[in-house]
């Protein structure tokens, strides 16, 4: 039905998407996780209570989340050039994707850690645990199921964003759908691309749910 060329196009775009989204997810998690932890532990009355720092971080995150992605992408072009040497291409697209996702991840991490019963944190304090031990041995392991779901949500969100990044030369499936499907009226390619995206999102969500379920010990009978 389609020429082999179409499949090659599709495969190339698929790999570009995986590359872009995969790396941005990893980088955004590396940035967003500590930020989310800080948002929790510096909150008033928590283990490293620092209300001023907490407010500043919270405002920064809100600012980051308010800027529309397409504007952010253009606005940070100088920064992107500084980091990857160019503002065009798949690697360049990863910079705005990561920057946009960090505050998003931070908020997801924050809400995941807040689910951990503060009584458990107090129990650890009463045993003489340091703040670092409480973060690494209580908060993060206890919130692991929610954190895995947070990473899943981030990944799927970044797939959506990556389509926009594609519009400025980032490549990937979204770009393919726009350039071939929309601009050249190849409805078949557009539908095919969308189908691949749907499958990708479904698989990722299922994988994330499975992972979260496997590490979740909160339910009765789970072992």
């Amino acid at each position: 039905m389609w020429s082999s060329q179409t499949w090659i196009l599709l495969w190339g775009a698929f790999l570009e998407t995986l590359y872009m989204v995969g790396f941005s997810t990893i980088l955004a998690t590396l940035g967003g996780l500590p930020l989310g932890v800080l948002l929790v532990v510096t909150a008033e009355g928590h283990i490293l209570s620092h209300p001023l720092l907490n407010r500043i971080l919270g405002s920064l995150v809100n600012v980051g989340r308010s800027i529309p992605f397409i504007i952010l992408m253009v606005a940070i072009i100088p920064f992107t050039r500084l980091v990857v040497g160019t503002s065009i291409g798949t690697s360049a697209a990863m910079v705005p994707l990561t920057v946009a996702a960090i505050p998003f991840v931070a908020r997801l991490v924050e809400s995941a850690l807040r689910e951990v019963d503060y009584g458990v944190v107090e129990a650890a304090q009463a045993m003489g645990a340091t703040p670092w031990q409480i973060i690494t041995r209580v908060l993060l392991p206890e919130a692991l199921p929610s954190l895995l779901l947070a990473v899943t949500i981030t990944t799927i969100n970044l797939i959506g964003y990556s389509a926009m990044a594609g519009a400025v030369g980032g490549g990937g499936l979204g770009d393919l759908a726009v350039r071939y499907g929309y601009q050249r009226f190849r409805v078949d390619i557009m539908l095919l691309t969308v189908l691949v995206l749907i499958l990708l999102v479904q698989c990722l969500q299922a994988l994330g749910d499975l992972g979260a379920r496997l590490v979740d010990r909160r339910r009765r009978g789970a072992s």
């Binding site: 107090e122 009463a126 045993m127 392991p141 206890e142 692991l144 909160r218």
Partner: protein
């Protein structure tokens, strides 16, 4: 072991100061089980949380084994906290760790080597009777089992003091009993000092040596359990005791008895502690004073392991000076409380030879 001196704590709630503790003084001896009883909001939880600095008091000092814990910060405070175990109403176990993992947790953070951790965890699980649940997760356990894990975890670093924050309040009466027995067993076997807070006099009665009654942030009464139980001085203490050991006659019964006696009869509450509970008291009373004794109520109970008997009697006739009869009883080591009768109430306030 623990000296709480002039401790005060004020919270700011919506800009308004709320006093949680006011000039609290408390002295817990080494190896005893000290109960603090109060209604919710009385400040008992704040008080016990001050002992390991989960709450910082604004003023006063708290000496734990001679060290003023209120002056400690950082690593010094953490080291001191490892000497103080704590168990909680909601257990506060790590859901992501197995039973063995939970017990190992305090050892890991204290930097105990793995081999040592393994050995100690298995000893502790044996102590609390959960060896077969080592690999289970908290979500798979019953409330009583969860609290046993909490106890094993609290004992892991071989503390000198165990704090119990309403540890049995979320448990059913049967499970409460078994957890209390475990605490008593640990107290006796390890010589561990235990401070527990509760709102149930039954808990105090089962295992405590001393008790303090807290009301509106102030200790209103404290002393050995038998003393507070047999001679409560405050309304707060009496309220907690109601229905636990001190029986009350129904008011209508009392009224009828007084009316029938025409002011001639005495209604007395006699309390016996320990050995005295076995004396043939009533018969000697009848013989010596030529009176009629009508037993209205009788019970025998235990305060921790001391037998404790109560009789409510009506004494009629004989024409004997009632205060002589009462002095006789007190001379035999019986505590006498005049519920109704001609004796002046101030005579009753004398301590009845229980000590």
């Amino acid at each position: 072991m623990i000296e709480v001196r002039q401790v005060s704590k004020v919270y700011q709630v919506g800009g308004q100061p709320v006093v949680a503790l006011r000039d609290v003084n408390l002295s817990v001896r080494r190896g005893e089980i000290y109960g603090i009883i109060g209604l919710s909001g009385a400040g008992k939880s704040t008080l016990v949380r001050c002992i390991n600095m989960l709450e910082r008091p604004q003023s006063g000092s708290i000496l734990v084994d001679g060290v003023d814990i209120t002056r400690l910060e950082g690593e010094e405070l953490r080291a001191a906290r490892r000497q103080i175990g704590m168990i909680f109403q909601n257990f506060n176990l790590l859901q992501s760790r197995t039973v063995a993992g939970n017990v190992a947790f305090p050892l890991e953070i204290a930097g105990v080597p793995q081999a040592e951790i393994k050995r100690r965890v298995s000893d502790l699980l044996e102590l609390v009777g959960l060896t077969d649940k080592a690999k289970a997760y908290p979500a798979q356990l019953s409330g009583g089992q969860k609290q046993r894990v909490g106890i094993a975890r609290a004992l892991a670093n071989q503390p000198k003091v165990l704090l119990s924050d309403e540890a049995t309040s979320a448990l059913d009466p049967q499970t409460t009993k078994s957890i209390l027995r475990l605490l008593l067993d640990i107290n006796q076997r390890l010589g561990l000092t235990i401070v527990l807070i509760t709102h149930e006099m039954q808990v105090i009665k089962e295992i405590c040596d001393s008790v303090a009654v807290i009301e509106n942030g102030t200790i209103v009464e404290s002393g050995p359990v038998w003393q507070v139980f047999t001679e409560p001085r405050t309304a707060a203490a009496r309220n907690f005791l109601r229905g636990v050991i001190t029986p009350e006659l129904p008011p209508e019964v009392l009224e009828r008895l007084i009316a029938e006696g025409g002011g001639e009869n005495q209604i007395l509450r006699l309390s016996f502690l320990g050995e005295q509970a076995g004396q043939p008291l009533i018969s000697s009373l009848i013989r010596l004073f030529d009176v009629d004794v009508n037993i209205l109520y009788g019970s025998i109970d235990h305060i921790k392991d001391i037998p404790f008997g109560t009789l409510i009697v009506e004494v009629k006739g004989g024409g004997v000076n009632p205060s002589r009869l009462i002095s006789y009883l007190r001379g035999r080591g019986v505590k006498v409380e005049v519920i109704a009768g001609v004796v002046e109430p101030d005579l009753d306030s004398a301590v009845g030879g229980l000590s």
